[in-house]
Structures are given as C-alpha cells and as structure tokens.
C-alpha cells in the first residue's frame, strides 16, 4: 500500500470506496435477482436509485422504486425534454404517463394486442393523473381494388359504423385508471404526409360511443378535452348525453371542432345539469340559436366561471342573448366572444351588463366590427325598419344628425366604443378587456385600456393594503 502511494501520485484513499459502498454496489449489480431496497436508509436508497440499471423490467421496477432519482434517469434516458413541473413534480408519474401515451398513440387497432396496454395499465394505474394523447391511429386499411372500393363506397356510407375504421377503444382503459383527472384527446394522425385522408382526422360513431361510455365509467375525471377531431353535432350530442351525470367533470373543451347549433343546445343542457366551471367552445360552428340555448343555461347556472365562444358564428342574435343572460349571472368571470361577427348592438348590451355586473373580470371582443356596424342600423332606420333590439337609440340619433351634416362621408359613429367607454367608467371589476381589431377609435381604446389598467392596479393595491391594515391591527 505504502509503495503504491509513493509511486503513484494520483493515488488517494478516497478512490478506495468504503465497504458499505461496495456492498451497495453489489446490491446494485444483483438487483434483479435479489432486490434489497426497503430495508436501507434514505442515503443508501439514493445510492441505489442512482446506479441501478435502467434496463430493469418495468413491472419489476414499478413495484420497487418510489418516485425519485431512478425515474428521473429513466425519463431523461427516454425523452430529451422533461419538464417535471407539468407532472406534479413526480418523475414516476411523468414516466408512466408518457409511457402510456406512447403506447396508446402507437396503438393500431386490429394489430396491436390490447394486452400490451392492459399490462401497462396494471403497472401504472395508480400513478396516472393526466393523459395527453396527441394522435390515434386508424386501423390499417387493406389494399382494395378500385372496383371494390367503388362497390363498397355506398355500403360504407350506409353502415359506416361497421366500416372497421374505429380507433382505440377507451373502454378497456379508462375504468381502470383510478386516479385519472385529465384527458386530452385528438383524433388525428401526425405527419401523415401524402397518405392524407379526411377520415384520419375524425372519429367514427362507434369511436364516439365507446369514448362516451368510457368517460362515464371514469368517475375521477375532471378535465376532458377533445379538440381538432372534427366533432359534429351528432357525436357531440352523444358525448354530452353520457357526460350529463358525470360526478366530477369541471372542465370541458371542445375547441377546434365543427359543433353546430344542435350540439350547442346539448351543451346548454349539460350546463344546467352538471357543475362545469370552464367551458371552451373555441372555433366551432355555433350560430345564434345555439348561443341562445347556451345563454339560457348560463342565466340559471351558478358554477360556470369561464366561457369561451371565440371564433363562432354567434352574430348579434347570440351575443345579445348571452349578454342578457349575464344580467342574471353572478358567477361568470371570463367571457370570450372574439371573432363572432357581433356588432355594436352586442357592445351596447354588454356595456349595460358591465355597468351593473361587478363580477366579470375579463372580456374578449376582439375581431368584431363594433364600431362601424351602425351603418346597417342607419340603413335600417332609413328604410324605417328600426331594429327592436336597439335600446340606445339616442346614439343613433346623434349619429343621424352627424350624417345629415356630413352627407357624403362614410358614417363613423363609434356607438359601441362610446357605450363601452361609459360602461367601463362605472365598472371596477374588469381587469382585462381585449377590444383589438374592433374598429373602435384608438383614442377610446386607449381610454378603455387605461380604465382597465386602473382597475387592475387598484385591485393589486387593495389586496396588499388590506394585508397591511390587518398587520397593523
């Protein structure tokens, strides 16, 4: 030993690991044959977690290791980007969720054995809280001759449920995941390239039915998101029907689908029955009647906090209905009506709401022509067809006066802007107001923004001041 020290300048006692470390190393090397873990101290556990081979069979490791370094290593080995904060700071949860997502995303009905999913589910059912499935593969279509295709085309349409184009059946999965809270689904195929077919981007009726039943069986689900899946009225109704009595659902997201008025009606029914807090119907096809149904439900609802109806076809009919409903509603905090083709009429009714309601916090009216739509109204007045919905005719008169004075000029009566400005001066609760691209005068926009800003600032100030006073007391 001495000699070694003398000759080797780099030699040091520290490189000779202690016996306990050697023992632990031995345990690590033989971990699969003889797992010793629970008896160890926390530091020794860390040692083992840091060194145990990552190729251990999952069913073995899942039962031995709790959340910790081992799962972090496995995650980092498998994926480049690992943001554990999205998974409740649990590496194990992250690993299993992503693993299961991978399996489901690569599941090809008819070819992949459902057992692979079930095996995984038995291992990870306690850890999975969120499933974000970004694609669902259709079954492989057997190459058919053109004649046959033409021949079967008709039959396909007739009995399209039996087409064999069903995706992964969630019924085998969801009732087993006892901790599942969030489910994000997209019926699409990533990077399909030149194999593009519309059927790849929509769900079949049987898919819809199985999914609805699966959702019903999953009692812990809080968030359900089905987007970019070409969800039609019929399927939407089917889903909603099964979700009516769901005990825990709080958030529903059907954004980027093609839900129409009848689907919206069904959702309105859902609003009255369930305890939904957040409803997102962004980018759908909901028109005035559907919006009316939703508004009707909204006037009775006491749980909904956020309603997103951006990029629909509400028009003034739906917008005004919703604004009316808000006169009775005291719970809604966030309302988004952007890009709905609403005009100053809705703005007027909304301003009347803002003057009274002090619960709304954020409003989005962007991409609506709030300013210039009075031309229609003027035209209507000119043709003696007074819109009965126009409650604030005074503005129109003034506008009329103005138009008479400047006859050939394009009328620029900023009725909506004025109304909103006036309403905001009375309101203290709104802290966000998006009125971009609404043809409102820039000056007024800045004024409104200033008011919103003041509200926001006041709110920010009040809370610390209250705290201060409390402290002083």
């Amino acid at each position: 030993m001495r000699r070694i020290i003398a000759e080797d300048l780099d030699w040091s006692l520290a490189t000779v690991s202690s016996l306990s470390n050697l023992c632990l190393q031995c345990i690590v090397n033989n971990f699969e044959e003889k797992p010793i873990y629970e008896e160890l101290t926390s530091s020794e556990k860390d040692f083992i977690q840091n060194r145990v081979s990552l190729s251990l069979p999952l069913h073995f490791a899942a039962n031995v290791f709790p959340d910790g370094v081992y799962w972090k290593r496995r995650c980092e080995q498998k994926w480049k980007v690992c943001d554990v904060s999205n998974y409740g700071e649990s590496w194990k949860r992250m690993f299993f969720e992503r693993q299961l997502e991978n399996i489901i995303e690569l599941f090809v009905p008819g070819i992949t054995e459902p057992k692979t999913v079930l095996d995984m589910v038995t291992l990870c059912k306690d850890h999975i809280k969120k499933l974000n499935i970004a694609q669902l593969l259709p079954p492989v279509k057997e190459p058919q001759t053109e004649d046959e295709e033409q021949a079967t085309e008709l039959t396909l349409e007739n009995e399209d449920d039996k087409s064999g184009m069903d995706h992964f059946d969630f019924r085998i999965l969801l009732d087993k995941l006892t901790n599942l809270e969030e489910l994000h689904l997209v019926y699409k195929v990533k990077s399909c390239g030149m194999n593009f077919e519309w059927s790849m981007f929509e769900m079949t009726n049987r898919d819809c039915e199985s999914l609805a039943k699966a959702l019903k069986s999953c009692k812990t689900l809080k968030l359900f998101r089905l987007h970019l899946s070409h969800l039609e009225d019929k399927k939407c109704r089917l889903l909603v029907k099964y979700l009516l009595d769901h005990p825990s659902l709080r958030t529903l997201d059907f954004s980027h689908n093609v839900i129409g008025d009848s689907g919206a009606r069904a959702i309105g029914k859902l609003l009255t029955k369930s305890k939904l807090e957040i409803l997102n119907l962004y980018d759908n096809n909901i028109g005035g009647p559907g919006a009316k149904a939703i508004a009707h439900a909204l006037s009775k609802n006491t749980t909904l906090v956020s309603l997103n109806l951006c990029l629909n076809r509400l028009n003034d009919e739906g917008g005004q209905a919703i604004c009316k409903a808000l006169l009775n509603n005291k719970t809604l905090l966030h309302l988004q009506l952007g890009a709905n083709g609403v005009t100053w009429l809705t703005a007027l009714s909304l301003s009347s709401v803002l003057a009274q309601n002090n619960t709304l916090k954020s409003i989005n009216l962007s991409c609506n022509t709030l300013g210039e739509c009075c031309i229609l109204h003027l035209e209507a007045r000119a043709t003696k067809k007074v819109n009965p919905l126009c409650h604030l005719g005074g503005y129109c008169h003034r506008g009329l006066v103005k138009t008479t004075s400047g006859s050939s000029m394009r009328p620029s009566f900023h009725v909506g802007g004025n109304a909103l400005e006036e309403a905001m001066s009375h309101n203290t609760s709104v802290t966000e107001c998006n009125i971009h691209l609404t043809d409102i005068e820039e000056r007024k926009v800045s004024v409104i923004n200033q008011m919103v800003w003041n509200n926001q600032f006041r709110k920010q100030e009040t809370s610390p001041r209250e705290k201060n006073t409390e402290n002083a007391n």
Binding site: S366, C367, N434
Partner: protein
C-alpha cells in the same frame, strides 16, 4: 393584413410606455412633495412603499405587455380566420350563384330544346326537319359548350385557388417565420426590458441602500465621536490622577528613604557594638575550644568504640530476639505436640486397661463354664456308671450269680473338681497369697505416689509387723552401698552435699532406673531381702555357722550380710523377671490342673465293669438270643393252634347238628323203611368219621 397586424400589435405599446413614464413622473413628483413633510424613518418607510408601488406598477405593466403581445397574436390569428371564413363564404356564394345562373340558363336552353323537339314532331318536310334538327343540335352543342365553359371556368378557378392556396401557404410560412422573428425580437426586447427593469430596480435599491448606509454611517460616526470624546475625557482624568499619585508616591518614597537611612545608621552602631562583644567572646571561646578539642579527640575514640559495641549489641539483641521468637514458636509447637501425644497416650492406656479388663472377665467366664461343664460331665458319667452297675446287678441276678458292689466309697466320693471347690489346694493357695499383696501394693501406688518410704514402711509394717523404719533405712543404705558401682560418678558427686537420707533415696532411684525396676517393686525387694535374711538365719541356725551375724545381731541383727546382697539381688531380679512374665501369662491362661488324678478317676470309672464281666455278658447275651429265637417260634405256632382249635369246635358243632336231624328223620320213618334207612345211616356215619379224622 400583416401591416394591420403590426400596427395593431405595436399600437398598444407606446401608451404603456407612456403610462410607465407618467407613472414614474407621478411617483417622483409624489416623492418630491412628500419628502420634506415627513422626517426620519417614516420618510424612509413611505419612500420604500412608494418604491415598492412603483416596482409593482412596472412589473404589472411588463406583464401586461407580455399578455398583450400574446393576445394580439391570437386576435390576429382569429381575425385571419374570420377573413378566411368570410372569403370562403363569399366564394361559396358566388359559386352557388354562378351555378344557379348556369342551371337556369341550362334549363331555358333545355326548354328551348324541348320546344324544338315538339316542333320536330310537327315538321314533316325533310329539309325543315333537317334544319330544325340542326338548330336543335346547335342548341345542344351550345348547352354542352356552356357546361364545358363552366367546367373550364371552375377548373380555372380551382387552379387559381390552388395557386392562391399555395401562395397562402407560402405566405403563412413567411408569416410564421416573421412571427418567430418577431417573437425572438420580443423576447429580446422583453429580456432587455426586464434587465433594464432589473438594473433600474437595482439602482433604486442601491440608492436606498446607499442612503441607508450613509445614514447609518453618520449615526455611527456620531456615536463613535461621542464615545471617543468620553473616552478622551476619562483618559485625561486618569492621567491627571496618575500624575498626582506619582507625586505622592515620590514624596512618600523620599520620606521613607530618610527614615531608612537613619535606622540604618543606628543599626550600624548597634552592630558594631555587637561585633566588638563578639570578638571578645571569640577570644574566650578560642581558649575553650582548645580544651574542648582535646576532650573531643578522646571522646571521639570512645564514641567510635561505643558505636561498634552498640552495633554489636544491637545485632546480638536482634539475634536474641529472633532466637527468642523462634524458641517461643518451637515451645508452642512442642507444647502442642506434647499435649497431643499425652492425650494419645492416655487414650491408648485407657484402651489397654479396658482390653485387660475384658480379657480377665472373659477368662473368668470361660473357667466357670469349664468347671460347670466338667461337673456336669462327671455327674453324667457317675450316673452312667450307676446304670451300668444296675444292669450288671440285674444280669447277675438273672444269671443267678452273686453280685457285689465294686467300691461304694469310690462311687460315693465326688469328682476331683467338686472336691476342689470345697477345699483349697496348695497351688491356689500360693496364688491367693500373692494376689492380695499385689492388689494392696497397687492400690497404694495409685493413692500415694511420692511418699514411697512411708508406704513401704507401712506395708512392711503391716505384713511383718516387725520391720521398723530404721531397719528399712539400713537395708536401703546397704543396698545402695553395695550397688554403688552401678551409680554414676557424676551423680555421686552431685549427691555429696546432700543428706544421707536423700542420698540413699536418689541413689535408689537411679539404681531402680538402671535395673529396670519400679518403685512398687521396692517393698518386694526389701521383703525378699528380709526373707533372704530369715532364710539365711534359718540356714545358719540349722547350719550353726552364723556366729558372725549374731555378733552384729544387736545392731544389725536382721540385716543380711553385705556379701549376699548382690547374689540375692540377682536372684530377685531373675525372679522378678520370671514373675512379671508369668504374671502376664497367668492373667491369660488357666492354672495347670492335676490331670493324673482326673485320669485315675476316669479310668476307675471306665473299668467299673471288668473284662470278665464283659465276657460273661457276652455269653449271657448269646444264650438269651437263642432263647429268644425259640420263644419267637413258639409265638408263631400259637396262633395256628388257636385256629385249629377253633375249627375243631366248629366242626363238632356241625356234627352234632347233623346227627340230631338224622335222628329226627329216622324217628319219623322208623317202621316202613327200616332196611333203606340202614343203608342211608351207614353213609352219614362214614362221613362223620371222616370228619372227625380230619378234625383230629
């Protein structure tokens, strides 16, 4: 569209900035207003609050900018989507209209064709028909042309749309790129803004810190200054005090030195006086010393010697002590040993005595038993003899011989044993005489050990009655003188100064020790001497030569001659030795019995029946036996005769009976058959005769 986007996205930015600036200005002005009114910590606090508010505002504005950017992009996208939708709707409408118009035109034309067909039916003339058909064909062609045109148009439109779509895609791509660029830019801007914000905040805080630091420093300086001042004052005071104390110390020291000097002077004077005295004393002492030295030398020598002696004495005393202790130890040890041994000795002695007693008792018991047996045997034997004699007499009487008793005296006299019991034979007498003396001696020994002379005197006195103490003494003296050669010279020397009596006693002791005698044997010895003397006397009287003795008879009338002392002594010793051995034997074995007497006795008894008599007895026996045999034969025959006699009688009885019956019958048939009956009569008579013969 892009431009619009840009405009709309960039539009909200300046007001925010202006707001910020305004806010800052407002805040600063606010600060400016409030600064002079408030003072100290409150001012600072408010300042801090203000700054915090400011910071909050700035952060909020930043957040808002961030969100506005995002929302702007989203709204732009929404707007685009809206536009796309409206465009699509428009296109659809236009197409629909176009299709409708086309359909209308088509229908008109088809109507026309139909009408044409009705005309065709009406027309009969070939040429007309031909022309109508042509026109119809033309119309059809026109319709087809229209359709084709429409299709072409639509295809054209589609192509245009495709191009447009491609362009759109490209544009989107560009837009996305642009957006990315912008996002990057915004990101940079934001980070820049944030960093600026940070530096600003840092600056603010730094200022604050500086202010605070300056304040603290000032305070510290002030405090320090005060502290230093007080310190300085105290130091000055201390210095003054020190100086004062130094002065006083100096004075005191001066005083002390003068005092000390005075005292030193006095002391010097005194010491000088003392020195003088000392010198005088020294002179005296020198003389004395000289004297003392001489003494000292001598003393030293003595002392050395004394020391040596002392050392020796000490050594010896030590040795003595050691020896003493050793001695004491040894003594103890020996004492213990002696005690132990004496105990052992006592025990063994007791044991021995007990054994002796037992032996004596058993021997006595055996002797008695033997005697009894003997007596019994003798009795039996005499009885047997008596019996034999009786038998002899009987035999004699039987034979008819005269019998006389052999010797009645002998028969009457009892056996030698029985006679012993009654009278004392000479042997036992000797023993008996010896025993009592022995016993008495022993008793005396046990009772009075040391007073030997008196005892012996007494005993001799008792036995002889004539032995006086004087004679005894004389005898003893004589004995001592004669056996003087046996006594050691040393003893004799030692005995010289003693009295005569004592001398004799001591000499006797030593003598006894030499001869192996005991004190108890002394009286015996004396007795023997005396006996000897008497015998001598007797001899002399018989031998008539004891004239010399008689001459001295008066003085030592009863003393033996000194010349005989030694032989007598020797004899006594021999006797003594024998006796002691015999005594030992006698205590164990019976005294020897007189076997000859007994033999004679037994012989006599055995021969009480003489040989002749025995021969006679034998002959008589033989005769008697013969006689017995004859008698036995007779005795055998007697029952036979008896039987025969009986039979005879029976037969006689039968005969008589038969005779009587025959006579009766004869009597009955007497006359008729006389002849016959005679024959018959003869027959029975023969039978009877035969019977009588037989019986006879």
């Amino acid at each position: 569209m892009e431009e619009a986007d840009k405009v709309h996205e960039e539009a909200p930015e300046p007001p925010v900035l202006s707001d910020n600036q305004e806010d800052k200005k407002g805040a600063s002005s606010f600060k400016g207003k409030e600064d002079p009114t408030e003072e100290g910590n409150e001012e600072l606090k408010t300042k801090m609050q203000e700054e915090k508010k400011d910071v909050n505002k700035r952060i909020m504005s930043l957040q808002k900018r961030l969100t506005t950017l995002v929302t702007n992009i989203q709204t732009a996208a929404d707007a685009k989507e809206m536009e796309r939708r409206s465009g699509m709707e428009d296109n659809c409408r236009i197409r629909d209209e176009r299709l409708k118009n086309d359909a209308k035109a088509c229908q008109e034309k088809v109507e026309e064709i139909r009408k044409g067909w009705s005309i065709v039916n009406q027309k009969v003339v070939h040429s007309e028909l031909q022309s109508v058909l042509d026109s119809q064909q033309q119309l059809c062609a026109a319709v087809i042309e229209d359709k084709k045109k429409l299709i072409r148009d639509l295809q054209q439109e589609r192509r245009v749309k495709e191009d447009q779509y491609l362009k759109n895609l490209r544009r989107l791509d560009e837009e996305i790129k642009l957006m990315l660029d912008r996002m990057q830019q915004q990101f940079q801007n934001l980070s820049k803004a944030y960093s600026e914000e940070l530096t600003q905040l840092q600056g603010v805080y730094q200022q604050e810190i500086e202010v605070l630091l300056a304040k603290d420093k000032a305070k510290l300086d002030k405090h320090m200054k005060e502290h230093w001042d007080t310190e300085l004052e105290s130091l000055m005071e201390r210095r003054r005090m020190v100086e004062e104390s130094e002065k006083t110390v100096h004075d005191v020291m001066l005083e002390n030195t003068t005092k000390i000097k005075l005292m030193q002077l006095e002391e010097n004077a005194k010491s000088q006086a003392r020195l003088r005295e000392q010198q005088q004393m020294k002179g005296k002492s020198v003389v004395l010393n000289l004297k003392q030295l001489e003494h000292g030398n001598k003393n030293a020598a003595y002392n050395a010697k004394l020391e040596e002696m002392k050392g020796k004495i000490l050594g010896t005393s030590k040795e003595v002590k050691n020896l003493k202790t050793k001695y004491a130890k040894q003594k103890d040890k020996f004492m213990k040993q002696r005690q132990y041994l004496s105990e052992v000795h006592k025990r063994s002695r007791q044991h021995y005595e007990r054994m002796q007693k037992e032996v004596r008792y058993t021997t006595a018991a055996d002797a008695r038993k033997f005697e009894e047996m003997w007596v019994m045997m003798e009795e039996e034997v005499t009885q047997l003899a008596e019996k034999a004699l009786a038998i002899d007499s009987l035999i004699c009487k039987h034979l008819g011989l005269a019998w006389e008793r052999p010797s009645a005296a002998f028969m009457e006299s009892p056996g030698p044993r029985r006679s012993q019991e009654h009278d004392t034979n000479p042997n036992s007498h000797l023993l008996q005489t010896r025993h009592p003396s022995h016993c008495s001696q022993r008793m005396m020994d046990a009772s009075v050990g040391p007073s030997l002379e008196r005892d012996s005197e007494h005993s001799t006195g008792v036995e002889e009655g004539e032995l006086s103490s004087e004679t005894l003494m004389k005898v003893m003296e004589l004995l001592c003188d004669e056996t003087g050669f046996l006594v050691e010279d040393k003893l004799r020397k030692l005995l010289v100064p003693m009295e005569k009596n004592e001398q004799t006693i001591v000499k006797l002791h030593s003598l006894f020790a030499v001869l192996g005698l005991k004190e108890k044997d002394l009286p015996k010895l004396l007795h023997e001497f005396l006996l000897m003397y008497e015998r001598q006397q007797g001899e002399r009287t018989e031998g008539a030569e004891a004239m010399e003795n008689s001459a001295t008879a008066d003085s030592t009338s009863r003393l033996i001659k000194p010349n005989y002392v030694l032989p007598t002594l020797r004899r006594f010793l021999e006797q003594h030795r024998k006796r002691s051995s015999s005594h030992q034997q006698s205590s164990l074995s019976h005294p020897a019995r007189d076997t000859s007497v007994e033999e004679a006795y037994w012989d006599r008894l055995g021969n009480i029946i003489t040989e002749e008599k025995l021969k006679l007895w034998d002959a008589a026996e033989r005769e008697l036996k013969q006689y017995e045999e004859v008698l036995m034969d007779i005795s055998v025959l007697v029952p036979e005769t008896e039987l025969l006699r009986q039979q005879n009688t029976e037969l006689r009885m039968q005969l008589q009976q038969i005779l009587s019956t025959v006579l009766n019958s004869l009597w009955l048939s007497a006359e008729g058959r006389e002849k016959k009956s005679r024959t018959r009569k003869s027959r029975p008579s023969t039978t009877t005769s035969s019977i009588t013969q037989c019986s006879l």
